[in-house]
Subunit: 300 residues, 2 copies
């Protein structure tokens, strides 16, 4: 089954486009993981393994997709990559779709190695294959080609950065007329054309950190068949309002990410009536689902 | 000592701007490493460790800088990161400057994790710090900020992609007027201004895969104080002719990279009179130095 077909099927099953990012910072873990992580990289990686397994057990009950952020694993060197692989494999076993947020991109022969490493199982199953991967488009079409090829072979997804959610995104992404981000959007649309499934959805997605509803609508128009990854729900200032342009009437079309909004929920005073970090995390996930439900209801 | 000062001192000592990229593909290793690498990721990583140590012993006699390519290590998962760390630590012990080619880039809080992971030793010395790192500029200035901060703290260098050497580079990098790559070049120049050393050189570099001498001269003019990384010498079609615009009269200003031109030299029939892969590799390095010497001689 194509990536997009698997994705929307999983989204339907959990009845939410909510995605949680595993941007797990050692100094913001709940106890006992935070204390365990202080003893060194080996102990920190072991703490991350246990934390992520417990977290994934909660997430798998409520949402369809998780997004591990490779940078926070890379901080622990080889031990971190081991912990990252464990989280990917464990989440897949629990039926979650795993979108690895690594924002890779290089010239063709090197892109091929990255694609094989992160989507193809690496050399002789050295690393669990993710279902999808984020990419940086700066190097152009021949640099994207090996990712497109291996994604097709693996029925995996790709999410190219089009417009990012950070305040400084406009510096280069708005350069020119039409702005660069729109040129990239059109190219992502083209890259995905031949992968479209029966419902019309492509396997090649885009990261769109649109800050205004009309901007999101504009990108949706430029990429009508492209799954969108909408970052920054919660902490980066995004709200459910104004996301509806990304979705069709079935509630398909986009994933909405929250990382710190969920991972740091255990610190929320308004959730202190819940005794454990697990219960507070679950409450935050359910809350996010409810907030997003209003977006898809608008469409129906 | 600032990164640029260390860099040109090392270049002076070896009397060459030649840099060798460790883009080590398992199916292109010399024997016995190629055979050893076939048995699985653990064996492949061990073969890479031994190969790179032997290679670095050769390179350290002749050149100042090596550039490990993270993608080829990532293929081996955690084992590959172990091998990458070994190569970085071993090369630094041998007095080489290590520029890790990882082309990272993300929003601010994540960029901070990457910078700490790859330039700052990771969490509790989880991974050996490289002397410099390649970065993708697409996300803008706030995304670059944590890299600039940590590079300054560590007296490390950064090399932002400005214009890449692949055929498809122009798709996005030439967008707009002036073209995006020139806008990025001006920004890289600004990012580096406050790091300039006594001779005027900045610690913030740029990757410039210029295909024509006048294009290289244009980028040098836009970034007069910026160390340039010139990729693609040899296999990607670059030659020593036309590189002189990147250098000053002392032979400072740029590093010229060859990866396959050196790593695959053991297959060259015209070097078959030399019995070992080590001897052929050394001959190719000496040949590259001679070819590049003509560039810096022009300046004197």
């Amino acid at each position: 089954m194509s990536f997009a077909s698997r994705l929307w099927k999983a989204v339907d099953k959990k009845n939410t486009p909510a995605m949680v990012g595993l941007d797990s910072r050692l100094d913001h873990l709940p106890e006992p993981f935070a204390s365990r992580a202080q003893d060194g990289p080996v102990e920190a990686a072991a703490a991350l393994v246990d934390y992520h397994r417990a977290l994934i057990d909660i997430l798998a009950e409520h949402i369809a997709v998780i997004k591990p952020q490779s940078a926070f694993f890379e901080l622990l060197g080889p031990h971190g990559w081991q912990a990252c692989g464990d989280a990917i494999a464990y989440a897949k076993d629990r039926g979650l779709i795993v979108l690895l947020d690594a924002k890779r991109g290089d010239i063709g022969s090197t892109s091929k190695a990255y694609a094989q490493a992160l989507l193809g199982g690496g050399f002789e199953h050295a690393f669990p294959a993710s279902d999808a991967l984020t990419l940086n488009p700066y190097l152009g079409d021949d640099a994207a080609e090996p990712f497109l090829k291996i994604a097709k072979e693996q029925q995996a997804g790709l999410f190219f950065l089009v417009k990012t959610s950070n305040p400084g995104a406009s510096l280069f992404q708005n350069h020119g007329s039409p702005p660069l981000a729109e040129i990239v959007a059109k190219q992502v649309h083209r890259w995905g054309e031949e992968t479209r499934n029966d419902a019309g959805w492509s396997d090649i997605g885009a990261v769109v950190g649109a800050t205004r509803p009309e901007e999101l609508a504009r990108f949706r128009k430029l990429m009508p068949h492209t799954p969108l990854l909408l970052p920054g729900f919660g902490f980066q200032g995004g709200t459910a309002d104004g996301l509806s342009a990304a979705f069709d009437k079935k509630g398909h079309g986009a994933l909405v990410n929250s990382s710190r909004g969920i991972l740091w929920a255990y610190k929320r005073e308004d959730l202190f009536h819940l005794a454990t970090w697990e219960a507070r995390t679950e409450a935050a996930v359910i809350e996010m689902k409810e907030q997003l439900a209003s977006v898809t209801r608008v469409q129906q």
